[in-house]
């Protein structure tokens, strides 16, 4: 496998993953720290005439051009960040309502407002619950450059398999990381299907006349979402066997926490890591199983508690909760180790 190593940035890995997922159309608007996904995709379009792009007038247009291309059956996507993720909710809301296989890569940056431009973990709530509905979206949070590749491809595949809007939720630190990486292509891609074509005669709506009609639709959507969750939910449990304290972290902070667990074990401390890979659907069963065994959980995140809220929503077990919450600031391994002094 040594031969397959490539020296790539996270941005380049994401672009390659989109191509390897058989995506054909990107619609996007430049915003730091996600811009290089747009510019990187456009560079690939210069040589590969099967790939298409449009730099739109804003994120709203980026989102709705994606919706239109999805209706027509093209694997299309966008990438955005921060205030762009806010504007993207308009189109993602339509995708929520009409079960469109909408794929967006979110490069989290600091907020609120224009905030800071490289890093945060503050777009968890927006990614899942940014629409005016129930938040039935699939959200992946990769912790390494290798996972960026695997989970970007997966984001497309689950979107088209289950027809829920799907998000690859990452950040500028991971996207700007440049390292040797092996792109691990596993599994077939899901074939795209048009919602409308010359072979259909459909009238598709997102507005309902009666309240009951909408509730019935949402009830069906929730059933489908719960069925999908059985197949899609992913997590990493790292050195959790008989541990009595559990770190919970996601994304790039999860990678720092993994290193912290290794060091803490060396120091004789019995600490494990639970890392949700899908923030939605949340790996609830595994969380509760682990929380029955531990005395305390330590939530670590670059936000004031968006992951903590997710954990609390899903926790059925009484357990002491402590944490390190640093909104829009990176968290290093050493800081996590110090929590267990």
């Amino acid at each position: 496998m040594e031969n397959n190593k490539q020296f790539l940035t996270g941005h380049e890995v994401v672009v390659q993953a989109c191509i390897d997922a058989d995506a054909t159309h990107m619609f996007g608007y430049p915003i730091t720290p996600g811009t290089e996904i747009l510019s990187g995709w456009i560079k690939k379009c210069q040589d590969n005439k099967d790939l298409h792009f449009l730099q739109t007038e804003d994120e709203i247009a980026a989102g709705f051009t994606v919706c239109g291309a999805l209706m027509a059956g093209s694997k299309s996507f966008t990438a955005t960040a921060g205030p762009g993720t806010v504007l993207m909710q308009d189109a993602m809301g339509m995708a929520d309502g009409m079960r469109l296989p909408f794929v967006t890569i979110i490069a989290q940056r600091g907020g609120p407002s224009s905030g800071t431009v490289i890093y945060s973990q503050q777009e968890v709530n927006l990614a899942i619950h940014g629409g005016n509905g129930e938040g039935l979206r699939i959200v992946y949070s990769p912790s390494t450059v290798e996972e960026l590749y695997v989970l970007t491809r997966k984001t497309f595949n689950v979107a088209w398999e289950y027809r829920f809007p799907s998000v690859l939720l990452t950040d500028g630190y991971l996207l700007k990381t440049k390292q040797d990486v092996v792109l691990n292509f596993v599994g077939e891609n899901v074939e795209p299907k048009p919602l409308v074509s010359e072979h259909t005669q459909k009238n598709i709506r997102n507005i309902y006349t009666f309240e009951q009609e909408l509730m019935d639709e949402l009830t069906n959507q929730k059933q489908d979402f719960d069925e999908m969750a059985k197949e899609v939910t992913e997590f990493e449990s790292y050195k959790v066997e008989s541990c009595d304290e559990l770190i919970i972290a996601h994304g790039i902070v999860g990678a720092a926490a993994r290193d912290a667990v290794d060091e803490l074990k060396k120091q004789g401390k019995n600490v494990g890591l639970f890392r949700p890979i899908t923030l939605s659907p949340f790996p609830k069963d595994e969380l509760n199983k682990l929380c029955k065994q531990v005395k305390k959980i330590m939530i670590v995140e670059s936000s004031m508690g968006q992951l903590k809220d997710l954990v609390k929503q899903n926790l059925d077990t009484q357990v002491e909760i402590d944490g390190l919450y640093k909104p829009a600031v990176g968290i290093e391994t050493e800081e996590i180790i110090k929590l267990f002094k």
């Binding site: 159309h25 709705f64 299309s76 010359e198 598709i204 997102n206 507005i207």
Partner: protein
């Protein structure tokens, strides 16, 4: 040829939609046509015609159909919208679709008010017109969509007509479709009856639309 109308009695929109459908039938293009619908009264067209239709969001039908067209340039992409969706909340996307010369056809039903929400001031509300949100009469001039779009696109086919000029409406729509087939953007604005919000009856509607033509001259631009 169409299902039951969900529009108010006397609304002009059914005449626009039926004219579009008649042209598609004549051109044997019903299967190739996709009609995207803005939100506002336009949404009521969702199951009116036996062709592919879908609702979008308010002000977003143009960009949705731009995306559709880029995925399926061999089909006919129509964006159906009101004056508010076209010239207020959706103006940014309309201008840019026109500037890029995206080969879609935008059909704007201009009734000079936000009708679905009960008759508020629209971008096309005329000077002196009283509305729900301009009770003392609107004190500015309306947006001229034809001039606006022409300023960013020399190739576009642009025409304004009215629901009481059916022959012209059909010809303009035919030319707009041809323009799309030739790879150019096109937009038709149609002055349309709104008896509910204008609070006028039968013959007075014709008079109202004819008066609108002073603010919104008809013809090709």
């Amino acid at each position: 040829m169409s299902k039951d109308s969900k529009f108010c009695p006397g609304c002009g929109q059914t005449m626009i939609l039926q004219t579009l459908y008649r042209i598609l039938q004549e051109q044997k293009s019903e299967e190739k046509a996709v009609l995207g619908l803005d939100i506002g009264c336009s949404l009521l067209a969702w199951d009116f015609l036996p062709i592919n239709t879908f609702q979008t969001h308010h002000g977003r039908v143009t960009s949705t159909m731009v995306g559709f067209n880029r995925a399926r340039p061999d089909l006919l992409s129509f964006a159906y919208t009101g004056d508010g969706g076209a010239y207020a909340i959706g103006l940014q996307s309309l201008l840019w679709a026109a500037k890029r010369n995206d080969p879609i056809t935008v059909i704007v039903a201009n009734n000079a008010v936000y009708a679905m929400t009960g008759g508020q001031t629209a971008p096309t509300t005329m000077h002196g017109q009283k509305t729900d949100t301009s009770p003392a009469g609107y004190d500015a001039e309306p947006v001229d969509g034809m001039k606006l779009i022409r300023s960013v696109n020399e190739k576009a086919y642009l025409a304004r007509t009215a629901v009481n000029e059916m022959k012209d409406m059909k010809q303009h729509l035919e030319k707009a479709i041809q323009s799309q087939r030739d790879g150019n953007f096109s937009m038709i604005e149609i002055l349309s009856f709104c008896p509910t919000n204008w609070r006028v009856k039968g013959p007075a509607m014709i008079e109202y639309v004819n008066n609108m033509k002073e603010s919104f001259p008809v013809g090709e631009f």
